[in-house]
């Protein structure tokens, strides 16, 4: 029986596929009566009477109706429209009318559940099972359509940014997206919106089903699962619409209003660089920006002098320093003052060393004089006399005069 219904439906679908496809691809999959008659005439070559006959056939519930008359339009059954759109790879945005239709269906099925719960229907268990199935299917569909709409709008905005669409057409499309999709859809998911209200009602009904002992376990289990699924989908729906509203609305609004030359130029610049690279865009390559000249590149002579000074190691007396302005003075050794050893009549040894080596420091002369005194004391007699002050350059020393006898 069921198979017969399906075959009959598909045969009818196939027979009138051209007409149904034309209507399905129209906005909101609907067509005015006169226009439908003209379409039938152009496809089948029918006169008015035959056209009306075909419209009547397609509107009959035998086995399912394809067309519904909602003055002044004939609307194609939404699932048939979806099928044709899917087959034609022309899945476009579904407006809030489609979503409203789905919400209405969920609402209607929920009312049937309530009626069954209150004993108003004869086969309440079967009615509830059937309604729960439809609610679940339509809820999933609501989510799918919302997600596809969001992706589609994102793609349209990307194409707007890439350019190539006439400014007026772009403003028109942006306005349609705002007025027919984003704004009404946000209203649907608002706390007092249609989706929220119908979901809340469904939740209450399903919880009642779950709580009633009169129903079999499987029905109660389905009701519990239905509540869980609906909660998850409700959150995701809110997320999708909130995301669409915050991200897409400001951008679309900027396309609706008259665009400034600055913005359109900037958009063109970004698009061209992204596509061809900046080297191909003459206004960019022709912009002359001079390289910064820095005063730090001018090097002062004083700096070089300072550099030399840092490189010179602190000189020791014994080191030979090439280029040094001070004369080389070798370290004083006892050998240098040995002639004094041969002279036994020195009345002031330190003074004699100082006289013998006028270029050496007082410290240096004093050190070698001490060595000499030790050497002389081994074989000669020394006499220590009065204290005397010695000075050379910045050095001073006060010691006893030592005389060799």
């Amino acid at each position: 029986m069921r198979l017969d219904r399906a075959s009959s439906f598909l045969a009818k679908l196939r027979a009138h596929s051209k007409l149904l496809n034309e209507v399905a691809l129209r906005d909101l999959h609907r067509i005015e009566t006169e226009e439908l008659k003209q379409l039938i005439s152009s496809i089948y070559g029918y006169n008015e009477e035959q056209s009306l006959g075909l419209i009547h056939t397609l509107s009959l519930d035998d086995p399912e109706s394809f067309l519904t008359f909602e003055p002044p339009f004939f609307i194609i059954q939404s699932r048939v429209a979806e099928l044709f759109r899917w087959l034609s790879k022309n899945i476009r945005l579904q407006s809030h009318h489609s979503l409203n239709g789905i919400i209405e269906e969920i609402k209607s099925q929920n009312e049937k559940v309530i009626e069954a719960l209150e004993g108003g229907l004869e086969y309440s268990k079967y009615q509830i099972e059937s309604s729960m199935d439809i609610i679940e299917y339509r809820t999933a569909e609501l989510f799918r359509i919302s997600e596809e709409n969001s992706t589609h709008i994102s793609g349209v905005i990307q194409r707007f940014k890439e350019g190539g669409i006439d400014k007026e057409k772009r403003a028109f499309l942006a306005q349609i997206l705002l007025s027919d999709h984003l704004n009404p859809m946000l209203k649907l998911v608002e706390p007092e919106g249609a989706i929220e209200i119908v979901f809340q009602d469904v939740k209450t009904s399903l919880e009642r089903v779950e709580a009633l002992h009169a129903f079999p376990k499987t029905v109660k289990e389905n009701a519990r699962r239905g509540v869980q699924k609906q909660r998850a989908i409700r959150e995701q729906l809110q997320k999708i619409h909130q995301y669409s509203f915050t991200n897409f609305v400001p951008i679309l609004q900027s396309y609706v209003r008259s665009t400034s030359i600055l913005l359109s130029g900037a958009t063109a610049g970004v698009r061209l660089v992204s596509t061809y690279g900046w080297k191909s865009i003459s206004p960019l390559t022709e912009m002359k920006l001079i390289r910064s000249r820095r005063p730090r590149n001018i090097l002062a002579d004083a700096w070089f002098a300072g550099y030399n000074a840092r490189q010179i190691q602190p000189a020791r007396d014994s080191d030979f320093v090439p280029g040094s302005i001070t004369e080389y003075i070798p370290t004083l050794e006892i050998e240098n003052v040995r002639p004094l050893l041969e002279n036994n009549q020195v009345d002031d040894i330190l003074q004699a060393v100082l006289d013998l080596h006028p270029q050496h420091s007082l410290t240096e002369c004093s050190r070698v004089a001490n060595d000499l005194i030790i050497a002389i004391s081994l074989r000669e007699k020394l006499v220590f006399k009065e204290q005397k002050r010695y000075a050379r350059r910045n050095e001073e020393l006060e010691v006893c005069v030592v005389e060799v006898i």
Binding site: L263, S264, A268
Partner: protein, 195 residues
């Protein structure tokens, strides 16, 4: 012949003005060097001409900068700056209320500036903007900050205490590049499709 400045104060002003122009600074009316350059425009022009550089006074007035004749110096850097400006214009435009349009005067007169580092952060850009940035070697947020710093140094931008950037009058130069690209906006690019 070049006239010499007698006053030490004037000599100092001359030195500052010349060096800052040589550093690539875009000097606008609110800058300290501006009145001196305006007053001694011909002298400075003559002086720089000897060095093969030309002092440019923007046709709209209130802006001086240097140009080197017949030379394309820092072309990649100028492309980076233009791209940053273009994308900033797009992002600022996206954030405006309905019926407002973005203009160069709005950008300059926004005294509290814009959070450019956040606004242009690579994570928040669309694929077209990211591709454009990549083409001019801006691959990370650090690269972006580096160019913003250079734009601040050459005085296209001013960094405020709260890390916001304010556009200076000198961005007229960048907006002129955008305006010259305006006519390209509706040109169909290969692979693009109309809705």
């Amino acid at each position: 012949m070049l006239r010499l400045f007698d006053d030490e104060g004037e000599r100092k002003e001359f030195r500052i003005a010349i060096w800052n122009l040589l550093r690539g600074h875009n000097i606008i009316q609110t800058d300290v060097e501006f009145p001196f350059i305006q007053e001694n425009h011909e002298l400075i022009e003559e002086y720089l001409d000897l060095m093969g550089l030309s002092l440019t006074s923007h046709p709209m007035g209130g802006l001086y900068y240097l140009q080197k004749e017949g030379s394309q110096e820092e072309s990649r850097l100028s492309a980076q700056m233009c791209l940053i400006f273009f994308i900033a214009v797009q992002k600022i435009s996206d954030s405006l209320e309905d019926s407002d349009t973005v203009s160069i005067f709005d950008l300059i007169n926004k005294y509290d500036g814009y959070e450019l580092e956040t606004l242009l952060s690579l994570g928040g850009l669309d694929p077209t903007q990211i591709n454009a940035f990549r083409d001019v070697n801006i691959n990370t947020n650090e690269d972006l900050e580096k160019v913003l710093k250079t734009m601040t140094r050459v005085r296209f931008l001013e960094k405020l205490d709260d890390s916001n950037y304010r556009f200076r009058r000198s961005i007229i130069r960048l907006s002129e590049v955008a305006n010259s690209l305006h006519s390209y906006e509706h040109i169909q690019i290969e692979g693009g499709e109309e809705e």
